[in-house]
Symmetry: D3
Subunit: 62 residues, 6 copies
């Protein structure tokens, strides 16, 4: 606890994910007082075919 689920577009590199989970975890520890080992971050890579805003899939936006 906390458990943090992140949905983002696919295409981030491993290096970006590595930096992201480290920064998110530090943010949780600093502001909530969590211990690092209690923080789980789970990333879901979402294709632009599978995410719409305003009723339009991102794969169709220009």
């Amino acid at each position: 606890m906390p458990t943090i689920n992140v949905q983002m577009f696919e295409g981030r590199t491993l290096e970006q994910k590595r930096a992201f989970v480290k920064a998110i975890t530090e943010a949780a520890c600093t502001t909530l007082g969590s211990s690092p080992e209690s923080v789980d971050v789970i990333i879901t890579d979402v294709k632009k075919d599978n995410w719409a805003t305003g009723g339009v899939l991102w794969t169709d936006k220009k």
Copy 2:
């Protein structure tokens, strides 16, 4: 807001998803008064190996 997460079996075409997110978004705007740009729809394609009803995976149902 709203953010709408949809889990469905994989296999829908892009054309079906396009129609689906458009229809869902219109439904939200009409009934909740949301503005279209505030509606996110995120689809998760689920394999029949990964979904069970009644304790049986759909890949095993006949």
Copy 3:
């Protein structure tokens, strides 16, 4: 299938939710070919204290 999870701000009336789940379900049936009984819609009411966009809680936006 599909299972549709909706996160929205709290405060919608029962009448709005009733219309919303009916419209969403019809949208899924029409565009995906689902049977109505296979469509679940689960609403989560989110407080403005618990949703942030751009790093600011909605309770703090003016």
Copy 4:
């Protein structure tokens, strides 16, 4: 109802998933009094690149 979403590391065999969903469903029926057909279990396979504990991706743990 209930709807049970399970996030686990990828790599489980179909046989393991088959046994798992059967056991989970029986556990829900026995302890909650649910009927089997009302229990949905949806598995999400997560890559070790996409799950961090303590700020470190599992792909980087030794």
Copy 5:
């Protein structure tokens, strides 16, 4: 890992939840080979006003 999210109707007693999370965790350990301490179960209590099947809220079903 695994992390198990359960959505169920509100109204279960603490005793039922206690038995449920114990049984679910044992099921995961037996079938997946997880260690007990690696299994998280998070319950979400859903009101009948907030869950629809077939386009009808459960609060409206007879």
Copy 6:
């Protein structure tokens, strides 16, 4: 995008949540290159009656 869902124990103050969503959003912008306005953070407050680790509800742990 990204959309960040956080499950944590209830009891955090509004001030803690305010600092948390700000820090999480900055972490996402810095490491992923997201624009702040594209980052949603949604918090779910979980009761200790509703979260188990190792098969034991946190309300029962000492």
